[in-house]
Structures are given as structure tokens and as C-alpha cells.
């Protein structure tokens, strides 16, 4: 009895070991998360043709939901970028190009915008796209007080005089209107009535190159839309996988399990660039990182004290520590590649100068400063570098790491000495400066108030001539930077990597990932 039992155990052990070996030795062409019962294609068609196949992309975040008007998660927009369209769309330089609207013009007084729509567009559900859909989409954002309602602050009325024309009447000129209606997919056009007929958090009815599959816990697949107005996409599908751990994502890329990822820690860029079979794309971004001092709290209500901090920070060191150099130091918000860039850098890293500024403001050695950062972001490392810098000038920094929901709460309540954060995906200088530094700005948590800046920002917001508008923003930027309303630090790079041989993909400064024309390696 006992003998048989023992033999049974031995057999089981051998079986288990054997099974493990067999499993481990089974082919290297791994299949990933099949979603919608469509197993992933490893991209190597039998005939070696580049067209068709499934591109597999590992993204580091996880979408929260898929309603373009409701979500604010970048991971959701990575998917939605390929599913929905807007009236106009920014190109890689940030200039607005036709998309659902083929042309547009503005009245002399800047108060009436007329968009002419394409007439060859169908939605994923087969319905035809018309001006009513635009009116419905924009009114949904305004009437339901969606997160992006503020983009229509100057819009009085949106009407559809005929199926291919949309007219927007404004209460005051809005030179940044194109950025507001087309800067990102949060302003996507959905079919009239879609919010009542569909559960937009899990389903999408767009006009874009790909149709949304069903959301899964580990990923989601989008499939090519044959009737796409821009022509059928090159690949049959794109499978997004949610991979939070960079080692896992990069190993998958090296093994050929995936074709594309954005999960690349700055410290790994150098190594990756030297590897065969992998291409690394690096582009300056339109994002910026900054630190802001609370001007309701002494001594930071004094401009000299703020300037002292701005002078005491060694931005090059911050970039090395936080980004391993994958960023560009900048003392204004807007990066050098943009038309709106203004070359202004008044603060040279100089501890002695910083100390004398502090003395002028009557700030004693050992002045405390708590910098609030969001945990698990590069902001933590940046704050550590600043802590070392500022201790040299007698400022005693403590770093408060908060989860982002707590961080946002404290920021809104004004419960901080200083906070550090980044702004992503800005295209128009209005986005870069207005809400953050205007006395009535929606995000002026640091409490900056300067009548001259307010007046410059107001004029610029209504100035239709681009060059005159730029001159106004340049002046405002010099005051904002000089008064250290925000202490701007750097523009981080966008870094993505893909398998060698992936074609038709363009890395962009606004982090929009568009797989419409992508081709797989042969």
C-alpha cells in the first residue's frame, strides 16, 4: 500500500518536471493576451509581405475608460488616438492640419469661425458623419460640464447651417480655437445621440482608422476600419498590452514578443540605443516640469526669496539626476522647437547670488521648505537634486511624497509650501501660460497676481495676428519667469522604442501615438 503510494508520488513529481520542461521548450513565438478571441499575430506573414498582421504595443499605463470626453488618462488617449478624429489635428510641428474639417475661416472681427466638413466620412457603426454630430459632440462637453468644458469658455453658440458646415459664434476672439477643438482626442467627434445609445466608457463609435475591441484586464485590441476616410490602415490590428514593469516590457521587446513600447526608464536609453534589432526614438516634448512656491506663505510671498530658489537650483544637475540627461533645460515653459519659444534664461546657478537674495528678503539660514511631489514619478529624484542644491544656500528642504489624488487635493486647497509637477501636451501658449499665471486662472494654485501680466495675457488671448500675439506672450513670459511665479526646470524628451523594421511610425512631441500607417518588420 505504502509502496504504491510512494511510487505514485514519484511518478507525479517526474510528470510535473517533464511538463515544465515541455512547456519551457515550446516554441519562442509567444502569443500574448488574445483578446476578442483573436490570437496575436507575430507579424511575420507567410509571404513576408509587410502589409497586414497585428502590431503589438506595450504601454506602461492602463486606460481608465474609453469615453474621450470624460477620460483624462494618457493611457486611454494612446488607444483613442487611433479610434477617434477631431475637426483639425496637430502635425509633428504642432501646426494644425485638416482632419474632419477640410477647411475653415475666421471673420474679420475674429468672432465667427466657419468649418467646412469632409463629405466622405463614415462612423464605425456605418452612419454618415455630418455637422449635426459636431454640434452634438461639442454641446455634450459644454452642457454636461465635462472636464474640457473650459475650452469653450468664449463660445456662445455652435450651429449647423447645412450638413457640411459648422459655425461657431464667439463672445470674444479666440486665436487658440484650433488648439481647443483639435489639440487632442478629448475633443473627439462622436455620432449624434451616441452617449444615450452606447456605453461610451467601454464602446467607441469613432471615425478613426481603427475600431475599438472589448476592454480586457490585461490589454485591448483595435482592428482596422475598412471604410476609414483616410484609407484602410496598413496593419489589420493593433494589440495594446498593459505592462507596468519596464524590465518586462523591454525583455518582451528584445524577445520579439512585442513591437513597440513607451515603458523606457531614462537610465536604460543608452543601453537600448546600442542594441541590435531595436530602434529608439527620442523627440523633445512639449511637456514641462516646474516647481512653484506658495505665494500665500512667508517668505515665498517675496519675489527675492523666490528668485533665490530659482538661482540656487542647478537645472543641469536636476536633468541628470531625474532624467539621465533625456531632457532639455529650459527656464520658460515652451520648448525650443516651437514657433512660440522665447529664449529667456535670467537665472544662472549661483549659490552666492542666491544667498544674497535671501539676505535681501530677510530669510535666515535654516529656512524650511517642504516640496510636495507625486510619489513614484521622476519628480521625486528632481526634488532630491534640488534638496542638495538648496541646502548649499541655507534652505532646509523636506520632500513630501503624496499619491496623486492627495497631491491634487492639497494643491487645490493651497496646503503646501511648494509643489512640483509637469504639464503635458500643450500646443498653444494660452495652454502654457494663461490658466497658471493669470490672477483668475483656473490652476493658479501658487497665488501669482500681476496686473501687467494679466493685461498682456488678456490681449494675447484675443490677438489674431500670430506675430503680434507671440510678442505679447514673450513679454508675459519674461515677467512670469522673472517673478518666479513658476520656476521652470526642463522639457523632458519623449522616448519610445520599437523593433527594427517597423515602418511608417513617427514619434511626436505631443506624445500622440498614431499607428495608422505603421508596417510590421518583414
Amino acid at each position: 500500500m505504502a509502496r504504491t503510494r510512494r511510487r505514485g508520488l514519484r511518478t507525479m513529481g517526474a510528470l510535473a518536471f517533464g511538463t515544465a520542461l515541455v512547456l519551457a521548450s515550446c516554441g519562442g513565438d509567444d502569443e500574448g493576451v488574445p483578446i476578442d478571441d483573436t490570437p496575436a499575430d507575430n507579424g511575420e506573414d507567410a509571404d513576408g509581405a509587410p502589409a497586414g498582421g497585428t502590431l503589438i504595443a506595450a504601454i506602461s499605463g492602463e486606460p481608465d475608460q474609453f469615453d474621450p470626453h470624460a477620460t483624462s488618462a494618457y493611457a486611454s488617449f494612446q488607444v483613442l488616438e487611433n479610434v477617434y478624429d477631431t475637426l483639425v489635428v496637430p502635425d509633428a510641428e504642432g501646426e494644425f492640419q485638416p482632419s474632419l474639417a477640410s477647411e475653415w475661416d475666421t471673420s474679420e472681427d475674429g468672432l465667427t469661425w466657419t468649418f467646412t466638413l469632409r463629405d466622405d466620412v463614415t462612423f464605425h457603426d456605418g452612419s454618415e458623419f455630418s455637422s449635426d454630430d459636431v454640434v452634438y459632440s461639442f454641446n455634450r462637453i459644454i452642457d454636461d460640464e465635462m472636464a474640457n468644458a473650459f475650452r469653450f469658455a468664449s463660445v456662445d453658440e455652435i450651429s449647423a447651417p447645412d450638413p457640411h458646415t459648422v459655425v461657431m459664434e464667439l463672445s470674444e476672439p479666440a486665436p487658440n480655437l484650433l488648439a481647443n477643438v483639435g489639440g487632442f482626442k478629448g475633443m473627439a467627434i462622436i455620432p449624434e445621440g451616441a452617449a444615450d445609445e452606447h456605453d461610451l466608457s467601454t464602446e467607441a463609435v469613432g471615425t478613426g482608422p481603427f475600431e475599438l475591441g472589448s476592454p480586457g484586464a490585461g490589454g485591448m485590441t483595435i482592428t482596422a476600419f475598412d471604410d476609414y476616410w483616410g484609407g484602410t490602415p496598413t496593419v489589420e490590428a493593433v494589440e495594446f498590452r498593459y505592462v507596468g514593469e519596464a524590465t518586462t516590457a523591454l525583455t518582451s521587446l528584445r524577445n520579439g514578443e512585442i513591437h513597440w513600447t513607451d515603458n523606457i526608464p531614462p537610465q536604460d536609453i543608452d543601453t537600448l540605443q546600442g542594441e541590435a534589432g531595436i530602434e529608439v526614438g527620442i523627440s523633445p516634448s512639449v511637456d514641462y516640469w516646474y516647481v512653484a512656491l506658495n505665494q500665500e506663505v512667508e517668505p515665498w510671498d517675496q519675489v527675492e526669496a523666490r528668485q533665490a530658489v530659482a538661482t540656487g537650483i542647478n537645472r543641469d544637475q536636476v536633468v541628470d539626476v531625474a532624467q539621465f540627461g533625456a531632457a532639455t533645460v529650459n527656464q520658460t515653459a515652451i520648448p525650443a522647437d516651437s514657433f512660440w519659444f522665447h529664449d529667456y534664461a535670467p537665472f544662472e546657478h549661483d549659490p552666492d547670488e542666491a544667498r544674497s537674495l535671501l539676505d535681501a528678503a530677510g530669510v535666515d539660514e535654516g529656512q524650511s521648505l517642504a516640496i510636495m511631489v507625486v510619489q513614484d514619478t521622476e519628480g521625486v529624484q528632481a526634488a532630491q537634486a534640488m534638496e542638495a542644491n538648496l541646502s548649499e544656500i541655507g534652505i532646509d528642504v523636506t520632500i513630501e511624497q503624496e499619491p496623486d489624488s492627495t497631491w491634487l487635493d492639497r494643491q487645490a486647497e493651497g496646503e503646501f509650501d511648494a509643489f512640483m509637477w509637469s504639464w503635458l501636451g500643450n500646443l498653444d501658449p494660452f495652454d502654457f501660460y494663461h490658466a497658471q499665471h493669470h490672477s483668475d486662472g483656473g490652476f493658479n494654485a501658487q497665488g501669482y497676481s500681476n496686473d501687467e501680466v494679466d493685461s498682456l495675457l488678456d490681449q494675447a488671448a484675443a490677438e489674431l495676428d500670430q506675430d503680434a500675439r507671440k510678442a505679447l506672450y514673450d513679454q508675459a513670459a519674461e515677467m512670469i519667469v522673472g517673478d518666479a511665479s513658476y520656476i521652470y526646470l526642463y522639457n523632458p524628451d519623449v522616448v519610445q522604442a520599437w523593433a527594427e523594421g517597423v515602418g511608417g511610425y513617427e514619434i511626436r512631441p505631443d506624445r500622440a501615438i498614431n499607428f495608422e500607417n505603421v508596417t510590421l518588420p518583414e
Binding site: T19, V33, E62, E145, A147, G244, E245
Partner: protein, 318 residues
């Protein structure tokens, strides 16, 4: 017996009510809310307040709690703020991956613990015993994220034997399901295995010293039979308890292992719910974890009675 089970179920209901109040209070009292999270740094204060009101977050907490618990009793756990999907649907979506990983990990743990613990108890202070002691200390001490990453670098990276991460459904492709499961299961199983090894060793040692074992040996029973029938059977009783707790813990999701291996389990979901202040989702998840622990505990106690005839839950006949 059935009276005992009924009593235990009643106690469980009381525990669940306590857990529901506790989790509701804690998550609503920490700063931050799902609306702030959804808006990010954009959207004005007016938008924020309007959305808060629409979501019913301005109602008194007591009212919010009774609304939630009232629906929960009918099986409606509400809708997740972040995703706009029903909580029960989100949980069900992740059950297969979680159960796969938990069962596989506990198998790994037992495959390590029973042989290793038994041998080291039979040969105390031998090299095997030393190895088991040091090994279980190491297994407990090595951070699981480091172990997971090492496995990925070696078995997926260098050797290319296994996929780096992700999950494939058992019904979609059994072979791929198993291949994706190996590394996460070993990573999650090693720590549990280390804990269980010590338990097996000490309970086997204890059983070896019992009188009935000495009696069996004196009878001339073969050593192997003594081990099987008199030692292991008694040693298993405490193992069931600790193993049960380990299984319940694994079923509640192993957050770090799930993140490292991009494994869509409940742990990862609960973590995101905490970070996103997704009230209803987190409340649903914690209630589920409480149910898992209560059920596992009840099953353990019932198995106990089966294994050890001296244990009885009947009221003694007067």
C-alpha cells in the same frame, strides 16, 4: 455539524458588516477623491464641484454608506468611477487570472514545503536540514519583485524559454496559459513555500516525539509506514491552517508579482482602485477579500475535524 456551520455563517455576516464600515470609512477619510483624479490638473473648480455633486459625493457619509450597502446586499456593488463599468464585472474579469495564479503558487509552495520540511525534520542538523533552514530564510527575505525581474531576465531574456509576462486564458490556449503561469507562480510560491517549510519541519518533529510513534516503531512497523500513517497524518493538521491562510492571501492578489509579470489579477486592480480613489471598486474588492478569508477559514476548520478525530464541533451530549 450543520448547527456549527450556521453559527459560523452568522458570525461571518457580522464580520463582513464590520469590514464594510471600516473600508468605507477609511477610503472616504483619506484626502483626494475620484473626481480630482479624473480631472487631473485640468478642469476648473466649478467643474470639479459640479461633478462631485452629480456623483453623490456631497451627500452625508452615512447616507452614502447606506446607499452602497443597500445595493451591495442585492448583489449590486455599484459602478467603478474610473472605468464606468460595473464593479462585479471588473472583479469577475480578473478572477480567472487570480485563481490560476493562486492555485499554481500554492502547489509550488507545497511541492517545496512537504518534501523539504519532512526530510529536514527526519535528519535534524544534517546538510539537508541546514539547506532547508537557510533556503527558507532566503526565500522569505528575497524581495519578490527582484526575484520576478531576475526570472524574466534569465528565462525570458537570456534563455528565451518563457514569455516575459502577460496572461492567456486557460480556455483560449491551455499550453500558453501554462507557459505564462510558470514564472509568476514560482515567484509567488517561494515565499509561501518558505513559511510552510518551517511549519512542516516543526510539526513533523513534534509528531516524531509522540508516544504512538514510539509504540508503532516498537511494534516493528516499517519506518516508511510509520512516517506515512503516524507522523505525516498528524503533522498535516497544522499545515492545513497555515496553508489555508497562505491560499487566502494568494487569492486576494499578489500585487507586486502581478505588476512585474503584467498579470491582470485582483491585487493590481485593488492597488489601482486605492490610487485612483475608486471608492466603489475598492469597497467591492475588499469585501470580496474578506469573504475569501472567511470561507477559507471555515473550510480549514471543517477539514480539521476530518483529519483529527479528536476535534468535534458537536455540542457534547449531556
Amino acid at each position: 455539524m450543520s448547527g456549527y456551520v450556521l453559527r459560523r455563517l452568522l458570525q461571518s455576516v457580522i464580520v463582513l458588516i464590520g469590514v464594510s464600515i471600516l473600508v468605507f470609512a477609511i477610503i472616504h477619510l483619506v484626502p483626494g477623491d475620484p473626481i480630482r483624479q479624473a480631472l487631473g490638473t485640468r478642469g476648473t473648480e466649478a467643474t470639479y464641484l459640479a461633478m462631485r455633486e452629480r456623483a453623490g459625493l456631497d451627500d452625508p457619509l452615512l447616507i452614502q454608506y447606506f446607499n452602497w450597502i443597500g445595493s451591495a446586499v442585492t448583489g449590486d456593488l455599484g459602478v467603478s468611477f474610473r472605468s464606468g463599468r460595473p464593479v462585479s464585472e471588473l472583479i469577475m474579469e480578473r478572477v480567472p487570472a487570480t485563481v490560476s495564479l493562486a492555485i499554481a503558487a500554492i502547489m509550488v509552495a507545497l511541492l517545496i514545503a512537504i518534501p523539504l520540511g519532512t526530510i529536514s525534520a527526519l535528519k535534524p542538523r544534517s546538510p539537508v536540514d541546514w539547506f532547508a533552514t537557510v533556503g527558507s530564510q532566503a526565500g522569505l527575505s528575497i524581495p519578490d519583485f527582484w526575484m520576478g525581474i531576475m526570472f524574466i531576465l534569465i528565462f525570458a531574456g537570456t534563455l528565451g524559454w518563457l514569455p516575459s509576462g502577460g496572461y492567456v486564458g486557460l480556455t483560449d490556449d491551455p499550453l500558453q496559459w501554462a507557459r505564462h503561469l510558470i514564472m509568476p507562480a514560482i515567484t509567488a510560491g517561494v515565499a509561501s513555500g518558505s513559511i510552510l517549510t518551517r511549519f512542516v519541519r516543526s510539526s513533523v518533529l513534534e509528531a516524531l516525539g509522540q508516544d504512538h510513534v514510539r509504540a508503532a516503531r516498537a511494534k516493528g512497523m516499517r519506518a516508511r509506514d510509520v512516517l506515512t500513517w503516524h507522523v505525516l497524518r498528524n503533522a498535516l493538521v497544522p499545515l492545513v491552517t497555515v496553508g489555508g491562510v497562505q491560499l487566502a492571501y494568494l487569492l486576494s492578489g499578489v500585487v507586486i508579482v502581478e505588476i512585474v509579470f503584467a498579470w491582470p489579477g485582483l491585487g493590481q486592480m485593488a492597488l489601482q482602485a486605492v490610487e485612483g480613489r475608486d471608492y466603489s471598486l475598492l469597497q467591492g474588492a475588499v469585501l470580496l477579500f474578506a469573504v475569501i478569508f472567511l470561507v477559507v477559514n471555515l473550510v480549514v476548520d471543517l477539514v480539521y475535524a476530518k483529519l483529527d478525530p479528536r476535534i468535534s464541533y458537536q455540542k457534547a451530549a449531556s
